[in-house]
């Protein structure tokens, strides 16, 4: 029996894909809500894929937010496997991103939010070009110390809700310093507050994506 010739076809150039992972309740969706207006103000065309674990809550929340055309937000069911759908078998997310690319040919950036997961969560580089991991100070000041692939391997570690640190009896500065130590000099860590009148760190995250991934000038 003879084999037909291979016709390998790797991913074609398209919009940049950014993964956003992290534990349940760490603020992944809130961060996306805070990033959308910043990217839009900078002329970046966006779309979003969410991976809700048990409902379509995150997708519906973004679709109803008024921040983005609801048609640019799609939900992918995770089949009880939040790890699998972004790492071992990311094909449903790849298909969802490809569908968005086909429907919105001008899209520059697709944000792919994972379902809430644990510290071992990582993204397949078949699916994303760059990914961040979001933890929050309310989970305890020992989270960076526990390391885990999510914390150690992500392109950007976001430590969210730094404004609530005093209320949960931890030091945001100490958590940020320990995170920077465990990750080393070359892997960035940003402290963030994405809700309320005074946000913090969100523009820095957008700057990093604009510069490192979209290769665009960052506003001074």
């Amino acid at each position: 029996m003879t084999f037909l010739a291979h016709d390998k076809n790797t991913r074609t150039p398209g919009p940049a894909r950014v993964g956003i992972g992290g534990p349940v309740g760490s603020g992944k969706t809130a961060l996306i809500e805070a990033l959308i207006p910043i990217f839009m103000a900078r002329g970046v065309e966006l779309a979003v894929v969410t991976n809700d674990l048990v409902t379509r809550e995150d997708a519906r929340r973004l679709q109803a937010s008024g921040l983005i055309d609801p048609a640019r937000v799609v939900a992918v069911e995770a089949g009880a496997c939040p790890h699998t759908v972004i790492r071992e078998d990311p094909t449903l997310n790849i298909a969802a991103a490809e569908d968005l690319e086909a429907r919105f040919p001008n899209v520059d950036l697709i944000l792919i939010e994972s379902g809430g997961d644990n510290l071992a969560s990582t993204f397949s580089l078949d699916l994303v070009d760059w990914w961040m991991f979001v933890i929050d100070v309310g989970q305890g000041d020992d989270i960076p110390r526990k390391r885990g692939p999510g914390i150690m391997l992500c392109d950007l570690l976001v430590i969210n809700k730094i404004d609530i640190a005093p209320h949960v009896f931890v030091s945001a500065e100490a958590i940020l310093a320990e995170a920077a130590t465990v990750r080393g000099e070359r892997r960035p860590v940003i402290g963030c507050r994405c809700k309320g009148a005074q946000t913090q760190g969100v523009s820095e995250i957008a700057d990093l994506i604009m510069r490192d991934l979209l290769f665009r000038q960052v506003p001074a």
Binding site: M1, N9, T55, I94, A95
Partner: protein, 228 residues
């Protein structure tokens, strides 16, 4: 080792649950059947597999797989087979699931260089075909031919994937132990063989209302882990 052994090695590779196809996110109605209390015990799961899932595969999916295997290399004929599958799919949710799995499989095989996959992916990127093509059995037939598998081997891989996806959904729903699942699959093996030994019908048709209606019925009040 012969070229045929190489084809069998590829069959094992693409039939493994580690092969990314997206099938893990679909339960073929089992999640609803559990949530509604219509399926409870391992015996119930086996009964649904043997009485609903396998017959549906044999009388519907198998027909399109065989046709696609024969038409591999001709995107025009393949899209005609896809169109027939589309028109005969009465359950929209199951049809959508089949297209999503097929699309995922096609995308992966295009990336790893399986013959015919990239060409058919480009063909079905047309806006008028995107919502009416890449059904799972059509893609399985096309891929099997591209890997140098006979139609019988291709069917074996496809029915194995169908059974594994269903049983692994039961495990992740917490209603079947991992070892119980293997015992169930061992029990069902003769049924699978008997299914494969029967000739496929000339015309595709399906009557598995228990599972099909369950896949359509979603309770908004309950958590939903699976796409079907």
């Amino acid at each position: 080792m012969s070229a045929h052994s190489l084809a069998l090695i590829r069959l094992l590779q693409v039939s493994d649950t580690a092969f990314p196809s997206g099938a893990f996110a679909f339960s073929s109605g089992l999640e609803t059947l559990f949530n509604e209390g219509r399926v409870r015990a391992p015996e119930d799961i086996q009964a649904v597999l043997v009485g609903q899932i396998l017959p549906r595969w044999a009388s519907f999916d198998r027909v399109f797989l065989q046709a696609a295997h024969a038409a591999a290399g001709d995107p025009g004929k393949l899209s005609e087979i896809d169109a027939r599958c589309h028109l005969q799919s009465s359950s929209d949710r199951l049809a959508q699931a089949s297209r999503r799995i097929g699309r995922s499989l096609l995308s992966v095989h295009a990336r790893i260089g399986t013959a015919g996959a990239a060409a058919y992916r480009s063909h079905t990127d047309r806006p008028d075909l995107r919502e009416a093509s890449t059904y799972e059995p059509v893609i399985q037939g096309l891929i099997g031919a591209g890997l140098g598998l006979s139609v019988d081997e291709c069917e074996l891989g496809a029915v194995h994937s169908t059974c594994m996806a269903f049983v692994s959904a039961a495990v992740r729903l917490g209603r079947l132990g991992a070892i119980e699942a293997q015992s169930l699959l061992a029990d069902v093996a003769p049924e699978i063989l008997a299914t494969l030994e029967q000739p496929a019908p000339q015309l595709a048709g399906a009557f598995s209302p228990f599972a099909e209606i369950a896949a359509l019925r979603r309770n908004a009040m309950q958590a939903v882990l699976f796409a079907t």
